[in-house]
């Protein structure tokens, strides 16, 4: 069940400007029935002043698609075309007191309909650079084609980088496995494999600092190991990423009720030794959080 804001519900249950403007001189259509949402925006633009005197929407779609469409019309009425074009999808989402991340594409659709309508009014051809592929990131509606293109164009090597460039995987993380697969495919063509950590910043100093940190971490592990062994367990370093230290707990430690306590204790030792806050994150077996391939 989506947790919609009161504003979304209000504009869904009682939408404003749900109509086709009768004497419209600008029309923008986006979406399609097969995508699950479609929006037609009709505008009456004053030819002298370019002020949007009336705006109407017709929408096939879910609750937030209808509310976003209605919000768009409210936002742009009375504005000139140039002013209206400055309205972003974030403005639409803000007007609605926010949208669930998975529904942000509804606000994007509103912004695109406006661009299409303005292009229609000005006799330009509006083209979306949208190329459809299998949807990978459902939160931000990013598809496989876009992810692959972005990886190639920017020589990306980690899931985190892909999230930064495309937003894919930036919200719920459910698609990290899918992103990794695409990365793996592209990297394999170059004879590489998905790297564990972010590609280190170029520059020897960065690397040396990293190596020193890792050595310190391993030293702490060596110090605590006898105690872990006494309980039939062990700890192994998997990955270091900024303040996050990923480890694998083995033997009696993994899954035992003491795992949490053990982690807290080792984390404390690390934080003290390194003089910076460290978060110790367990990964177990082939269950890899954050796309790290151990």
């Amino acid at each position: 069940m989506w947790e919609y804001s009161e504003k979304v519900k209000e504009l869904f249950f009682d939408p404003k400007n749900a109509k086709a403007v009768a004497d419209a001189n600008a029309v923008g259509d986006v979406g399609s029935i097969s995508c699950g949402d479609a929006l037609r925006l009709t505008l009456k633009v004053n030819p002298e002043t370019e002020v949007i005197e009336d705006a109407g929407f017709q929408t096939f779609g879910c609750g937030s698609a209808i509310a976003s469409s209605s919000a768009l019309t409210e936002l742009i009425k009375g504005k000139t075309l140039d002013q209206a074009l400055k309205v972003t999808n974030q403005d639409i989402a803000d007007y609605l007191d926010g949208l669930p991340p998975e529904k942000m594409h509804c606000s994007v659709m509103g912004q695109e309909a406006l661009q299409a309508a303005v292009a229609n009014y000005r006799g330009e051809e509006w083209r979306d650079d949208h190329e459809e592929g299998a949807l990978v990131c459902k939160c931000f509606a990013v598809d496989a084609v876009l992810i692959e293109q972005t990886i190639r164009a920017n020589n990306l090597e980690t899931v985190e980088q892909v999230s930064h460039y495309t937003k894919a995987g930036g919200s719920c993380a459910a698609c990290h496995e899918g992103i990794e697969e695409i990365l793996g495919k592209v990297l394999a063509e170059k004879g590489q494999s998905v790297s564990v950590a972010d590609s280190a910043e170029p520059g020897a100093t960065g690397n040396r600092a990293l190596i020193q940190r890792v050595q310190t971490i391993l030293k702490v592990f060596d110090d605590v190991r006898p105690q872990l062994k006494a309980d039939g367990g062990d700890i192994e370093l998997v990955e270091v990423r900024e303040e996050k230290v990923f480890v694998r707990l083995e033997g009696a430690c993994s899954g035992c009720q003491m795992a949490g306590a053990t982690l807290g204790w080792v984390q404390q030792r690390l934080t003290e030794t390194l003089g910076e806050f460290i978060r110790l994150i367990p990964v177990n077996g082939d269950n890899q959080p954050l796309g790290g391939r151990a």
Binding site: K9, F12, F13, P15, A18, D29, V30, G31, S32, I33, S34, C35, G36, D37, A38, L39, R40, Q58, T59, F60, G61, C62, G63, S64, A65, I66, E102, K103, H105, A116, E125, W126, R127, D128, H130, L135, K138, A141
Partner: protein
């Protein structure tokens, strides 16, 4: 002072029983002692444990009766339907390492489909039987796929979205003749249709407590005696070493009671729900143009009506229904957080114009005729209202050629 939290059930008409059901009051009563007085671990050797083992045994027999299993030891309690599904398929693969293919259908629950997708990545070959426009399988195509390479066939007994029943008993016989193991996901069928496993060739069957007025988080894997088996969870010797982990005794007792109630009322409840379901469909279709029932009307669960409303989107329907106090569900993409309509609608080649508006009303034995009449009255204005908002609809009918009339620069 202890804080008293009162939780009020939302009132309204609950027609989402394929998602989950209300736990029957008698089931709650059957469970309560196992939280407090009879809390012992059935494996323990003291008086706190005595009686608990007996309760588990009684529940096993109640489930055995519901399924018509020959032996009570064929019943293995699991943590849910999904676990039973995973256990069945993975066991079949591990017990038959020389076989690396699976037959299933395109319309299974994700509990099967997502597992199969993963197995495919690991190198197994998965055959997904397609369905026709009414969700039916082609048994000739199925027969031609059966071979010594197949480790297991997994076919659901009843579809959760449309209620369509598959001829699993016949398909199990065919599998047996070919020397292939047969599993069925009967999570939606158990308690709604008669099942008599001792007279069938089904080797494994999954069910889930919360679909038959039992608690959530409890399931059963039926495993025919003599079937080769590899446990999913290893550890203690619970469930005869076939499913390690301390028994969820309260839930097991509850499931037993739920199974007993379901069996007792199977015939009467089924007939009553089917009559209400038919009335619902007839009433809605008489008042709403451009709508149709999906699935196979001749072979389906008594409680499920899936109606596709053209040119409207399912989540919007659900929101308006919810405001009218009616709980249903949708195959629409938007409700699930994906952007694609349900794989079941796709597999049946339901056009996109209708798939997004498919709405499932699933009844229970608690549903009343009066509730159904209220739904019949509520639905038509909701659909009409959303169509009025739609660019694909104008003046009481779909626009002449929706895909043409609506001309986005890209689609």
């Amino acid at each position: 002072m202890q804080q008293q939290t009162t939780v009020n059930a939302p009132d309204g008409i609950y027609l989402d029983n394929n998602a989950t059901t209300r736990v029957a009051p008698a089931v709650v009563q059957a469970m309560l002692p196992y939280f407090t007085e009879l809390f012992g671990n059935p494996s323990s050797m003291h008086s706190f444990a005595s009686g608990v083992g007996k309760a588990v045994q009684q529940a096993r027999e109640q489930v055995q009766a519901l399924l018509g299993a020959a032996y009570d030891t064929e019943i293995i309690f699991t943590s849910c339907g999904t676990e039973a599904d995973s256990t069945a398929i993975l066991s079949a693969l591990r017990a038959n390492p020389d076989r690396n293919e699976i037959i299933t259908t395109a319309v299974e629950h994700p509990a099967i489909l997502a597992l199969c997708e993963q197995l495919e990545k690991e190198g197994y070959k998965v055959h997904r039987l397609p369905v026709d426009g009414q969700g039916r399988l082609d048994l000739d195509a199925y027969a031609s796929l059966l071979s010594p390479r197949i480790a297991v066939v997994s076919v659901m007994w009843a579809n959760n979205e449309t209620g369509t029943l598959f001829p699993v008993e016949e398909m199990a016989r065919m599998a047996h003749e070919a020397g292939v193991l047969f599993h069925t996901d009967a999570v939606q069928a158990a308690g709604k249709v008669a099942i008599d496993l001792k007279r069938s060739a089904i080797d494994m069957l999954s069910l889930s407590g919360h679909k038959l007025h039992g608690p959530k988080g409890i399931g059963v894997l039926y495993l025919r005696r003599g079937t080769r088996f590899r446990p999913l969870l290893r550890g203690g010797h619970q469930e005869r070493g076939r499913r390690a982990g301390t028994e969820n005794t309260a839930a097991i007792a509850g499931l037993g009671k739920a199974a007993e109630l379901a069996l007792k009322n199977l015939q009467a409840d089924g007939a009553r729900m089917a009559a209400l379901r038919d009335r619902l469909e007839a009433g809605v279709l008489a008042a709403v143009p451009h709508a149709f029932v999906t699935g196979d009307p001749a072979n389906r669960l008594p409680n499920t009506a899936n109606i596709a409303f053209e040119y409207v989107e399912g989540e919007a329907i659900l929101m308006l229904l919810n405001r009218a106090g009616i709980a249903a569900s949708s195959g629409s993409a938007c409700t699930s957080g994906s952007l694609e309509p349900s794989h079941v609608m796709r597999a049946m080649s339901i056009p996109d114009t209708a798939a997004h508006g498919s709405t499932r009303f699933s009844l229970s034995r608690e549903t009343t005729a009066e509730e159904i009449e209220r739904v019949i009255a509520a639905v038509p204005p909701i659909i009409a209202r959303l169509r009025e908002l739609s660019p694909y609809w104008s003046e009481g009918a779909p626009v002449a050629d929706p895909q043409q009339a609506f001309a986005p620069v890209y689609a």
